[in-house]
Symmetry: C2
Subunit: 153 residues, 2 copies
Amino acid sequence: MIGRPTTEQTLALGDFVPFRLNRLAAGVSLHLAEVYQHRFGLDIPQWRVMATVGAEQACTAQFIAASTRMHKTRVSRAIAQLEARELIERAASAADRRQRQVRLSRSGRRMYSELVPLARAREATLLSCLTPEQRTGFLTGIEILERFLQLEN
Amino acid sequence: MIGRPTTEQTLALGDFVPFRLNRLAAGVSLHLAEVYQHRFGLDIPQWRVMATVGAEQACTAQFIAASTRMHKTRVSRAIAQLEARELIERAASAADRRQRQVRLSRSGRRMYSELVPLARAREATLLSCLTPEQRTGFLTGIEILERFLQLEN
DNA sequence: CACATTTAGTTGCGCTCGCAACCGTCCCCG
DNA sequence: CGGGGACGGTTGCGAGCGCAACTAAATGTG
């Protein structure tokens, strides 16, 4: 029923790329959530902030928002929660007193160093079901679509 | 910064497949929303219900939930809203009086017949930035990953 | 046949999100 | 140098969501 090929008049969601992409992304997120959620008690915004801050020495909330494409309020709240758990620290910026420099705390760095290999492993597990050629083909498609939709970074 | 290749200790989100997949899916959804939202005043759950019901003569809420992978409460509310707009109708099922048969109303069918070609056109526009080989490579990747994550339908 | 379990669908509730408004700071231009 | 707009970040609020609990109907079991 669902997977049946669509005719001109009909559209089966199971055959519709935007829907399939959403479903796939949700499935992959769920797959990944097992590591950052169950093992470290992070939700998605928090995980993304951790990942972004951990890759920089220090950065601002707006940088995180731009990198992760999350709304600035979502970032703001995630940062507040991470600060409450003492995973990150904020210091007033000398140059611009509106912004605050966010960086990982000691325990934040420890979590980050555990988190990253596990996340990587999940990604690898995921992609392991594709042959090298399939993988590059898939990634090429993503890349071109990203450019087409101007999501590049 | 963001796109910089990751080392063993570091993970750049812009280089991390699960994140890129989420971002891509969100971008594609946004692209598609222009048709179902701005032109027809539907939100995502409503659009998915319309698409599912329109492809069947009649179906139940639970069938819609399974097809769209939406939570049954989300489906229930979307159906209620569409019924309030008189785009769909519900009739008690003779065989099982717990369930109700959902089908498109006359105006629902009219909307559906306008909606489907536009959605298809959006999908085609999107995929038009890929060469035929890239397209099949990309779709193959999606398909295998769907099977791997058991999202097939 | 009675009772327990399962299933279809709805609803109350708490949580998260994005929008808009806001505060404080910076910066440009007259 | 003074004022207006732009910008970084936070917060109040309404909308949408999933969970859990519920109703009603079907099904299974002794």
